[in-house]
């Protein structure tokens, strides 16, 4: 599935993650800033990637600003951004 427009979800609050999705044509790229990047950076990227794959999103540039979100919060925010990105602008 291809996103129809850029979208975002989440907040900059503690335990949340701010997700921005930009439709592109050259696969998936994830840019992550996180308060726990060294310990959990790879895990966070995996959650984002898995959620994108589960929803058949293949061409997207993700910018994520994480403030200590747990996995289910990251997944929720990615899902919301996907849902919003699939709606016609």
């Amino acid at each position: 599935m291809k996103l129809k427009r850029p979208s975002k979800a989440g907040t900059y609050e503690s335990n949340d993650v701010y997700i921005m999705l930009f439709p592109v044509d050259d696969g998936i790229k994830i840019e992550l800033e996180s308060v726990v990047y060294e310990l959990f950076g790879d895990t966070i990227k995996n959650v984002i990637l898995t959620t994108l794959h589960e929803n058949n999103i293949e061409n997207v540039h993700v910018k994520a600003i994480d403030k200590g979100a747990l996995d289910f919060t990251i997944k929720a925010r990615v899902l919301t951004a996907i849902k919003r990105g699939l709606v016609n602008g």
Binding site: G10, D16, T73, A76, R77, T80
Partner: protein, 288 residues
């Protein structure tokens, strides 16, 4: 006896930090709010977040309630679509009316969901129609008073002293007790006024409310302290029951304690106190 609901803590449905901590605050019930605590542009985000939280976290200590959006909004149906796949205890139905409780009952029945309903009474018409509203669904366990919105409907100012909601409080308690339902008082909204909270909660207990809505976790212990039976009440209840059993063994129909005759209402109140104390693990814990 149904579950104990001394405190029902509102948690904003779009706030991950509060949601994941909800079980730690020791409220008897947690109300995950999809309505007033979530802005109109974030309703979709809150629904998805709540779904993921509830599918991944187990809340062992509290009843899980979701306050959905009102019946006359598009979000009402969207909220219910998500809830049908969740394992929650109760739905809090805002701006409750005969029409909305009828519809909610129908949706839950059609989807075979064993979810209870708590109605939020926050309009003048809701107050007047309360007997009818409460009777409209077997799933309805009781009601909560929404004092702030009720005052908007009444065109009056909401005060700490609460004279403006006195009629509503009395009427709703009476109706709930007449139909054997629980009745929860409106929250005390000044989170920095502990004395005011205790006074307001004591008054609610005096009127017959079973518990109180909570908007800040700091309020919980104060409200529990008011609604918990005191050691004195527990010991008195034990004496009443002990005297009752002795009287029955002696074939006596009436008996007295400290010179006062004990009749059926006193016995029933004592039984209730001991049941609540047992459920809360009180009585023995006072002696620690």
């Amino acid at each position: 006896m149904d579950r104990i609901r001394r405190t029902l803590l509102f948690i904003p449905g779009n706030n991950p930090a509060m949601l994941q901590s909800a079980d730690v605050f020791e409220a008897d019930s947690v109300i995950i709010d999809l309505e007033d605590a979530v802005s109109i542009n974030e309703k979709d985000s809150a629904r998805i977040l709540v779904r993921e939280v509830l599918n991944n976290l187990e809340f062992k200590n509290s009843e899980i309630i979701i306050r959905i959006n009102p019946f006359d909004t598009e979000d009402y149906r969207l909220d219910l679509d998500v809830i049908m796949d969740l394992n929650i205890d109760t739905i809090l139905l805002p701006k409750a009316s005969i029409e909305s409780i009828r519809d909610l009952d129908k949706v839950l029945k059609e989807n075979n969901k064993d979810i209870k309903i708590l109605v939020l009474i926050e309009t003048a018409l809701g107050v007047e129609n309360i007997m009818n509203i409460l009777s409209h669904s077997d799933r309805c366990v009781g009601l909560m008073l929404g004092g702030e919105d009720l005052c908007v409907d009444l065109g009056c100012k909401r005060t700490k002293e609460g004279t403006e909601i006195l009629y509503a409080r009395g009427r709703l308690v009476n109706a709930a007790k007449a139909l054997n339902k629980i009745v929860i008082d409106t929250p005390f909204t000044d989170v920095n006024d502990e004395e005011g909270l205790i006074t307001d909660t004591k008054f609610a207990k005096q009127l017959g409310f079973n518990g109180k809505a909570v908007i800040n976790p700091r309020q919980i212990q104060f409200i529990h302290n008011v609604f918990n039976p005191s050691l004195e009440e527990i010991r008195h209840a034990e004496r009443v029951i002990s005297a009752k059993l002795s009287a029955e063994a002696d074939g006596k129909g009436v008996f007295s304690i400290d010179g006062k005759m004990v009749d059926l209402p006193i016995i029933k109140r004592a039984e209730k106190v001991l049941l609540i104390a047992k459920k809360l693990g009180l009585g023995e814990s006072y002696e620690d």
